[in-house]
């Protein structure tokens, strides 16, 4: 109980809220780094997933991307990027840049995998019907395949988002700031209330991200699909 009081004291200390090592600044670093990485990850992964899923070509590449993504530890991405950015950008190669590159690399595999899998699951007869109605390939993709696959695609974006927010915590090891910095500082100077308080914020941020994207996934499911799955459930 006494310990939780110390944690509360860290949160209520005015010094925690101002300057270059403040809660708002670290939180902003965490959120902006994660959001930028996720946005870039979607921009890169979505076209790849759509191309593979629509054409059915390059499926092996998609599987390879998934497996590589799973085997390389998230801390490993940060470590691997750092020496390269340091050589290329010298001092600019520390901090935000290596963290961003590592997080983008981490965000790509789940989105590629799910986009590909989502499109492959679309009933072939629907696509044949669309083609019979005279739809072009592009229109089939945007008007038929993507709406049906959207929940699966967004599930991929969701797991990327959760992983990115989690790994942004580790960005502190390459001087990327974020809430993880409080944890590492706190461990270093044995300031446990700071460690615990920051960890609490990271946990809440991760769960909130999960919740937000779960909601988005529900909202993006077309009413027709929702009805279909509901029927499927009751039968």
């Amino acid at each position: 109980m006494e310990f939780l009081g110390e944690v509360a004291a860290w949160f209520s200390d005015p010094a925690s809220w101002e300057g270059r090592n403040s809660i708002p600044l670290r939180l902003w670093e965490h959120v902006s780094l994660s959001a930028t990485a996720l946005a870039l990850g979607v921009l890169i992964a979505l076209p790849i997933g759509l191309a593979i899923g629509h054409s059915g070509r390059g499926a092996r590449a998609a599987v390879a991307i998934t497996n590589i993504g799973r085997a390389i530890p998230s801390l490993g991405w940060l470590g691997m990027v750092l020496p390269i950015t340091l050589v290329l950008f010298e001092r600019g190669g520390l901090g935000f840049l290596p963290a961003l590159i590592a997080l983008v690399a981490l965000a790509i595999p789940p989105i590629v995998t799910n986009t590909y899998a989502g499109l492959r699951e679309v009933d072939r007869e629907l696509i044949d019907a669309a083609r019979g109605m005279g739809m072009g390939e592009r229109r089939i993709l945007t008007a038929v395949e993507v709406p049906i696959a959207l929940p699966v695609i967004l599930a991929g974006v969701r797991s990327s988002a959760v992983q990115v927010v989690a790994t942004a915590t580790l960005a502190a090891v390459v001087a990327g700031g974020t809430l993880g910095d409080f944890i590492l500082q706190g461990i270093f100077v044995r300031d446990l209330p700071r460690v615990f308080g920051a960890a609490l914020m990271v946990a809440v941020l991760a769960l909130a991200t999960e919740g937000l994207f779960a909601l988005l996934q529900r909202l993006a499911t077309s009413p027709g699909l929702r009805a279909a799955t509901d029927v499927g459930r009751t039968s």
Binding site: A71, P73, L75, G79, P83, T169, V174, F196, A206
Partner: protein, 219 residues
């Protein structure tokens, strides 16, 4: 970092003992997490089979644990269990539960009802039925879960170096990133990936050896 070769193979050769030690620590930490995770998950799965309504809440809780970032979960435990192996293992075991419980329950559910009836008809008791009938049939699905959990855990163990433990994360962070020494970083990452791949392939071949009939039927 500019005035020396990007990757110094001589450093790797000079430090083979150190590197081997880190691999050993990594394997021990992974092994404990998977072993304890399996025991707990089995208990939970058997409980869920008797009390079905527990399945939803169990998956919800283990799912929430799974989405807490590793460094944060370590940090939340530090005030209680300190910068220790116990802290790391509690977190690592927590992460295995979602995958393992889900797979074990699905695996046991997948055993055909006729087979269970036949076992009962032959006079098997419930423990004997579980051990000699259900588990062998469920094994491939269970091992599939263990493979995913093991690969995930091998990656997560690298993070334990941030709370003062060893393993391959020590090569990535302590002698790598903190000293801007690329060779140590890449050695740590490459060995971690190699362990993950070897564990995955090894468990798959173990499963095939343990269930030769599955191969005979499909072949």
């Amino acid at each position: 970092m500019n005035d020396q070769p990007f990757f110094r193979i001589d450093w790797v050769i000079d430090n083979l003992d150190e590197i081997g030690g880190r691999v050993g620590e990594h394997l021990v930490m992974t092994g404990i997490a998977i072993g304890v995770g399996l025991v707990i998950s089995f208990g939970l799965a058997l409980l869920i089979r008797r009390v079905r309504p527990l399945y939803g809440p169990t998956i919800a809780i283990t799912g929430a644990l799974y989405s807490i970032p590793s460094l944060a979960l370590f940090a939340l435990l530090i005030p209680i269990t300190g910068l220790s192996l116990l802290t790391a293992e509690i977190a690592l075991v927590s992460y295995t539960l979602l995958i393992l419980v889900r797979n074990i329950v699905a695996a046991l559910d997948g055993v055909p009802a006729e087979v269970l009836d036949a076992a009962d008809g032959m006079g098997f008791g419930s423990v004997e039925r579980l051990w000699r009938v259900e588990l062998p049939i469920a094994l491939p699905v269970i091992v599939a879960g263990v493979r995913i959990a093991t690969v995930t855990t091998i990656g997560l163990v690298t993070v334990t170096s941030l709370i003062g433990l060893g393993g391959l994360g020590y090569l990535i962070v302590n002698t790598g990133i903190n000293r801007f020494f690329a060779t140590s970083i890449y050695t740590g990452v490459a060995l971690s990936v190699a362990l993950a791949v070897l564990a995955d392939v090894g468990l798959e071949s173990l499963q095939r050896r343990l269930t030769p009939w599955a191969r005979a039927r499909s072949g």
